[in-house]
């Protein structure tokens, strides 16, 4: 049996599941983190007995698990507690229940990893962007120089320097489709740092991440699964709209994404970096400058590989499906 943890509406999950059904008779149980469901759960004798809605399974039956999207998937196990008129106690109790929940989750993941082949990172966590950059530097991968500061004067000196700089979130950027209230989408991007960025800013601001802007020849989106790499080059430099962040798509003349052969040395270093970060799948974002220098920007353990796979005909969905059914008996 194959266990898939995801979110509803993730197109890549659907495509991978189609391949699993096409290639194998394996039973697949999919649990979506964003959906309401009933969970029954018993842990005994080194095994979990889990029932999610109508799907019942023992962990011993699971050959592979894919942690595609989401955090902890067994929601609503601990009911919320309110001590009437005692807010401090209520707060403390809910923190305590959260710790109970986390302990159960960590144990579930421990047993899951012990028992079966797990693809994806535990608890859907994103590695710390700044730590990733430190690791990359230690392994000899170039990174654009970065700094973090809450001083206006620091930002000011960067904005006035000869070299360009960009700023973005230290964790993940804002990415929200509000389907209930405003019914609209909210996004943040990587932005160029200019004098206008500091208008109406006091001497102190929230600690902000700055990175030197690299004049790129092209960007690389690199999917990896274990030690297999699939890279695509994105020519976003010719277009003012996508120059700083290619996600600001130009719909009339979309950027070209074409297959790219990574130098072995870069592939080897990325492989080491993935191992250090304990990731067996994900996507690296890199840029190549006009002199042919490679820079690592970040790694995304749960990124969208669909467009890369489709445009460059890389059959990534099939690769993942084959990896997941490989342990079926």
């Amino acid at each position: 049996m194959i266990l898939v943890f995801s979110k509803s509406g993730d197109p890549s999950t659907l495509d991978v599941m189609r391949w699993i059904h096409h290639l194998s008779p394996a039973r697949v149980v999919r649990i979506n983190a964003d959906e309401e469901y009933h969970v029954e759960l018993t842990f005994a004798d080194d095994d979990f007995l889990v029932r999610v809605n109508d799907d019942e399974f023992r962990l011993a039956e699971v050959s592979s698990a894919w942690l595609r999207k989401g955090g902890f998937w067994f929601k609503g196990l601990f009911p919320a507690i309110t001590a009437q008129g005692r807010p401090a106690l209520t707060r403390h109790l809910s923190q305590m229940l959260e710790r109970e929940n986390r302990t159960l989750r960590d144990h579930f993941h421990y047993v899951l990893r012990k028992r079966c082949a797990v693809l994806g990172s535990a608890h859907g966590s994103t590695p710390n962007k700044l730590v990733v950059l430190e690791h990359a530097r230690e392994l000899g991968l170039s990174i654009p120089p970065f700094s973090v500061s809450n001083l206006r004067s620091h930002a000011q000196s960067l904005a006035e320097s000869d070299r360009g700089h960009v700023t973005k979130a230290m964790s993940d950027g804002l990415y929200l489709f509000d389907t209930t209230e405003s019914k609209t989408g909210y996004f943040t991007y990587t932005e160029a740092l200019g004098p206008q960025s500091l208008e109406d800013v006091g001497t102190r601001l929230a600690p902000s991440f700055y990175q030197q802007y690299v004049e790129k020849a092209f960007e690389l989106r690199i999917f990896f699964l274990d030690d297999q790499f699939r890279a695509g080059a994105i020519f976003s430099q010719n277009d003012e709209k996508t120059k700083v962040d290619y996600r600001k798509y130009n719909n009339e003349r979309p950027n070209r994404v074409i297959p790219f052969r990574l130098p072995q040395e870069i592939e080897h270093k990325l492989s080491l970096l993935a191992r250090r970060l304990d990731l067996n799948t994900g996507s690296f974002d890199m840029i190549v400058d006009r002199r042919g220098e490679y820079y690592l920007l970040e790694v995304n353990p749960v990124g969208q590989f669909g467009p890369l796979s489709e445009k460059c005909n890389m059959a990534i969905e099939r690769m993942i499906a084959e990896r997941l059914i490989a342990n079926e008996r």
Binding site: R18, H22, S182, F260, R261, E310, C312, A321
Partner: protein
Amino acid sequence: MDAKSLLRDCLDRYVFLNPDCVPVEGYAASAVYDLTRGLISTFPSAYFPFFELFRARRLREIVDALAPEERDDFVEFLDFLMEHEYVAVVDDAASFPEISQSWDAPCKIHNAIVDVRERHHDYRKIIAELDALGCQHLQVRGYSKLFGLTELAELARLCRDSSIQTLEAVLAHDPAVRDDDYVAVVSANRIIASLVVHSADGDRQLVVDYGARGAAAGLVTMEIQLTVKPLESHLDCGHIARRQLLPPSTQTFNELHHFNGCLNRKLSIDEGGEVRNCPTMRGSFGDHRAVSLADVVSREDFRRVWRARNDEIQVCRDCPYRYACTGCRALLEDPDAGDSKPLKCGYDPYTDSWTDWRARPNAAATLTRYQARVHLPILQ
């Protein structure tokens, strides 16, 4: 950058054709398929050999070999390639391999058509068996009012939790159904990706926005088309004009190198309930109530037409649009020749011209021949 500056500054480099821009040679005109932008542009086939030269030689060697009178044409051709951003100039193209030409899809049947006129089919059985085959898209065509809005809503319900991702419907207009009713059913069933209502009392579009507002509405809105044109029978299908060409993508472009763009992994139930490759094709594989669709799909004689590639069809093999065209294997210009080009195609690759296929000699007579052998009498 334009061709003039290219010829001034980059003579010792290579003109590199982006791998997502693929040249396709035709008889009079050839084409470049832009797989990222979904566009095709054509140029006189005399220029086609340049693509071979670009791969093998630096720009200087190509230019030096040109006769003086060829030079202006070459500059014009380079401008055409650069204007569409088909080419870049590189020192070494070794890091950019070609896009793989293989094609496969995670399903035994990719899409299906169900025709309804005088009697209903066993929709429950059809959907269950299509689900087992991994079918992704279903089209239902109602020639009469028998298959109406209520039936469409019920079919959408049956498709829920199946492999079917999109449901397209073509229904006959029913004066008893209000425009709001069409909108309500489509709004309640996101699986309905398209709805065309034929034989209507007037042409109009009904907008369905699923309750989205602002910029998000632009992403999800769909339109229901009402048209006064009637849909009389399955013989109304198979038209090939410019607007029927598929916007090229890596997937369709590759698929059409290996398979027939219309029939590959398709299955149909005609109005009489017979299983066919398409409702207009001869050759029934039995009544859908009596046979298992999986058994039909595994039959070699059912799958044979999937491999009818445009590369192997007369005239089509010389056409620059052959990897963007689903073609038609049911209605042929010469019904007696298995590899004849489609009857309803208006393109002539030998003169690079589009005309109305009906104006061709014998077109009307051929269509009459097809009408005479329709599997069931057409009752209005």
